[in-house]
């Protein structure tokens, strides 16, 4: 028999399962984090070991907080996960997660009811309930990090689709037949505008622009280094940052036409530089959007790295 919610409990267990970091927290109904722990994800250990790791971290956070037992657990996981069936269909960043019944395995290990969510959608729910999207009925959340993910709220409901895998916005076509994408396809938005694509473009350009300080001595080029070099007056870096903003804005214009949101919220690693990218994103987006869509604002996520964790908490509370 599936575990039942712990009645009367006012805290939720929130798990953010990432490809590199595993994070667990106890969260109250207002979105306050009472206690939080993190560990490097055992991404190569296989599903059984990883479920054990999650249960151990959950036990540690519950023990440390000395709170009442959580009512349920919400899990943000890399996709694609069939969240209707509770089955991981094949998570590229976690070894062995092919057709794995993740919800059942976690419910057993945690002895709690479990709500599973694809990470982009979980983060969208976090921002919608507790962050930059509070009070909005229609929003698109986009995370720009190693890859590009997202989640959509439409008419005050989470847009899930057939198996809860909607809003894979990083894998809309951007340049059909173009750059290879991690997903196997070519020309995805992610292959052009993600943090990885940005860093790879910077490395390629640095190699043919001897005047830049980027990649001196053959050093690899990271996204933060490009932003730092641009801030320090490096011409090539400034052009690369402007191009990144333009590419993001062009992709966001598509999202306006596809979902007609009240706002677009940008999270993920690159959103730390949102103040630098903002004007370029807005200009490119307005330039590419049809007139009726041009007044839609783009804002920075309010919850930083906790969007997904707080979305997982909202899911555990049934607040979505």
């Amino acid at each position: 028999m599936a575990p039942q919610p712990v009645t009367g409990s006012s805290v939720a267990l929130a798990i953010d399962l990432g490809g590199t970091q595993l994070r667990a927290a106890l969260v109250d109904a207002s979105g306050s984090i009472l206690c939080k722990l993190s560990r490097p994800t055992l991404a190569d250990a296989g599903p059984a070991k990883l479920v054990e790791q999650i249960a151990a971290l959950a036990g540690a956070v519950i023990g440390e907080s000395r709170s009442r037992p959580p009512r349920a657990a919400g899990i943000s996981s890399p996709g694609p996960i069939d969240t209707i069936a509770g089955v991981a269909l094949g998570i590229p960043t976690l070894r062995g997660f092919h057709d794995f019944p993740l919800r059942t395995a976690l419910a057993e290990a945690l002895a709690l009811p479990v709500v599973l969510e694809n990470d982009g959608i979980a983060a969208a729910i976090g921002e919608w309930r507790f962050g930059a999207g509070r009070g909005f009925a229609d929003l698109v959340y986009v995370t720009v990090s190693t890859g590009i993910g997202g989640g959509v709220i439409a008419g005050n409901r989470v847009l899930r689709g057939r198996r809860g895998m909607a809003a894979h916005v990083g894998h809309m076509s951007f340049m059909a037949g173009g750059e290879h994408c991690f997903c196997g396809n070519r020309g995805c938005f992610e292959a052009y505008a993600s943090g990885s694509a940005f860093a790879a473009r910077a490395a390629r350009e640095a190699a043919v622009h001897p005047s830049t300080r980027l990649g001196r001595g053959g050093a690899p080029v990271s996204a933060p280094e490009v932003f730092a070099a641009a801030a320090a007056g490096d011409d090539l870096a400034a052009r690369l940052v402007a191009e990144e903003a333009r590419l993001l804005g062009l992709g966001f214009a598509s999202l306006l036409h596809l979902y007609d949101p009240q706002l677009i919220i940008v999270g993920g690693g690159l959103s730390q530089q949102f103040h630098v990218l903002e004007a370029g994103i807005a200009a490119a987006m307005r330039g590419a959007a049809m007139p009726a869509f041009r007044d839609t604002p783009v804002v920075k996520a309010a919850l930083g790295v906790d969007s997904g964790l707080l979305g997982a908490a909202a899911l555990a509370f049934g607040n979505y």
Copy 2:
């Protein structure tokens, strides 16, 4: 005071306002068309004259059917229309429709409650309620004609967004910075895969392939002619048809990732050749989609030119 629904009436007035044809019908609650009339749209006459034309055609269809008065009117209109406010924001194919209060004007002229819908969404509702999408909770409808439009049903609800303008799928980016699109942007899906783009590509190719029968003697090339030539064994025409199927399939793969539907329904002029395009669409779509999405079927719309008209009827019945 706004008109109230005619209680006890079991018929709805459905209007399909197109850029070239204006169609009006009386429809019962099961989606049967009792009477239908059409006229060339007075697209250049301005809003006042066009509203008069709509009212006159509605009067004619009501008079001809000798049915009881309709309970309400549903209108499918070219977008973008803010269907929440009932205001046409700027319809490119109809002169003078900029910030025009279309719902109020029609409600006065028809003396009926009026439900307005962007045409792609109206057609999606028609197929969902009475056509190929019956019984599905999550579907994407795409119309491929002069342009490309669409509508999305998600979780048994119409995806509308902030102002009812979601699912402008023809204006998602397909080849950023590429071909000019009718909307003013570059590289939209519509600029590559619409019937107009298909015919334009055929004309360009015919000009440099003397062996083809297409465009002989400098004649303009239409989409139906390309299909006819392909069926008659013309090599270039066959390649053009295969390329059109491939482009549609690539765009549809994006729609899978964006909306995670149970199926994609194809309507519009080019869907008359769906049997010719189907295999190529499916192959390209499967090739570009992430594995978890590849089993999603693509089917032909069941209602032909009446998808929008029957969607308008469903709206008038509140059946959505």
